[in-house]
Symmetry: C2
Subunit: 341 residues, 2 copies
């Protein structure tokens, strides 16, 4: 299984660590031997059709700040589009950051990969949130698979859980907490009785919030995830702009503490029923969906089963790396069943 890795941040580095640790297991249990034939970051890349040394890539990246500095195989100025087009590989892993405005350059990377007959696995929310149907159609025409488990819930399998439930049952409504940063902030306002600003700096110190936390606080990040769930797992035809989005910026400590006295917690709830929305809502503290800290949760109400809830960490490099592995195994298993031909 020859892989091209585009984008080498926290998730990419975590993936290489997990692959090295699990190499024997992947081979023995599934017959999968992942080989990285190219890896790219913003400064350039490294290419080796015989497979790059993962440990060396990680060391070079740590020391030099770019994989382009890898001895012998590294090259400054290499670009994703040329590598995706020219280097022989089975799967492209698109791991660049989310651009919520137009999904670029992720969408172009993915289109190039698909047109070149390469499967795609991405953790970038932009392309599946803004162009899912188009990319799915293109993938299907080119007989390749397009997977994005890591875009929602980190390693917690929110997409597959929702999709499988919706296949055998009718999902009538969904409620979810899909953003760890805002959930951490709201939890601290509730538990520690501190202001949003204090909670936010705490989240940054602990690494839960990025420097640019605006996509979290204004609700864009969870709305992108909700769009992916609605289109992929519930087969709805939803555009990102159909979602009514309210962030948490206007939530006051006083509101949080007033609800606390009534055993409710204000949570940034993503919901799907007749409408789609992301908004801060008071939730009964005893509800299974009402999880704290940086946890994510999703609750489905269905016609036959009733209510089911899945809870787990919503982000993290290692967690997201397992979601990528899960997609790689899916592609491996589907290919060996001859589905792609």
């Amino acid at each position: 299984m020859r892989l091209i890795v585009v984008g080498f941040g926290n998730v990419g580095r975590s993936l290489l660590s997990v692959m090295m640790e699990q190499a024997r297991d992947l081979d023995e249990r599934f017959g999968v031997e992942p080989k990285i034939v190219a890896v790219l970051d913003s400064k350039g890349g490294a290419v080796d059709s015989k497979g790059l040394n993962m440990r060396e890539l990680l060391e070079t990246d740590t020391k030099e700040g770019t994989v382009a500095a890898t001895p012998k195989v590294g090259q400054f100025g290499l670009t994703p589009l040329s590598v995706i087009g020219d280097v022989e590989a089975d799967i492209v892993l698109e791991l660049t950051p989310t651009n919520p405005v137009n999904g670029e350059p992720g969408i172009s990377h993915i289109e190039k990969a698909i047109r070149n007959g390469k499967h795609v696995v991405t953790t970038n929310k932009g392309p599946p949130a803004l162009a899912m149907r188009r990319l799915q159609r293109m993938a299907s025409q080119n007989k390749v698979l397009f997977r994005f488990s890591g875009t929602v819930g980190g390693g917690t399998p929110i997409l597959e859980f929702t999709k499988k439930t919706s296949e055998a049952d009718e999902v009538q409504s969904l409620r979810a907490i899909l953003n760890g940063t805002t959930n951490y902030i709201l939890t601290q306002m509730h538990d520690a009785n501190i202001s949003m600003d204090e909670a936010l700096s705490q989240a940054q110190r602990l690494g839960y919030a990025e420097k640019d936390y605006s996509l979290d606080v204004n609700g864009i990040d969870p709305a992108l995830k909700l769009t992916i769930i609605a289109n992929y797992a519930l087969e709805r035809e939803i555009s990102f702009k159909d979602i009514r989005i309210t962030g948490i910026a206007d939530i006051r400590l006083e509101d949080v503490q007033n609800h606390k006295r009534e055993r409710r917690k204000i949570k940034l709830i993503c919901s799907i029923d007749d409408e789609l929305s992301v908004a801060p809502v008071p939730v009964e503290a005893a509800q299974p969906i009402c999880v704290d800290g940086s946890l994510n949760s999703v609750q489905l109400r269905t016609k036959y089963i009733g209510e089911t809830t899945l809870v787990g960490p919503g982000a993290g490099g290692l967690q997201t790396a397992t979601a990528i592995l899960s997609d790689l195994l899916y592609i491996h298993q589907t290919r060996s069943q001859g589905n792609e031909a």
Copy 2:
């Protein structure tokens, strides 16, 4: 998709209702048209290679107490083994009650089906708990599939959730509440401060406990489920008798109430780490796994993701029917990918 239904109790009847309601959806979304070519209960059966009328089967069963009384196509004295062997079909649904001693007659039904080249879906815990590896090998040799999603968690996809997580990550330990009846009893002792006997009669009045509740109260039912999870989803080689089982019979109201003061609840916890056990254990009330009433839950602790928890109803006819549908869709999708050939 031609089906033989063996055993026609609550689950079988619910399945027919769901199939009638979802017929159009199954056809349009998946191209699946389930056709029941034979159905059997303890008194006989009904057979029609063109497909039995589901509504008529349900009406006859309600009025006459057996599908054998169905006009024209019904026949008293028909036996499962002869029908499984003689009637042409794609899949046998083995829905007879669980026999925890030797898995019969379920195991014989399933062996007969597999030898005759028929896929098997079962909700009977005996065969997968007591003979999983043998039946899996036999299925694989005969190029058919053997599925049993409905044996654990009703419609809550505990088996698939655990299996998928364990494929892409390392599950280090598992804790679960897998029996709704005992969970209802323990919840009532906690919440309503009533004795086990009172809670049990309440559970029976509400239909949560069968007349013979001994398999629940003595921990056999959840231990069978734990065996299935360990072997199927975690690929361990575990025999039912490897599990240390303690039921809830010795739990006193006083103990429950003492723990309540410390915000703990006594729960019948199934656990897998170095050892496998089923035993009543005090659990922090705030833990996501600590669910009430007849709910089930499973919590996985893994190497990379951390802790994930799935919660949902653990039983019920309609719920279990969706698990059967899910298995039927799996067989349909796998067959159309040519895996069985």
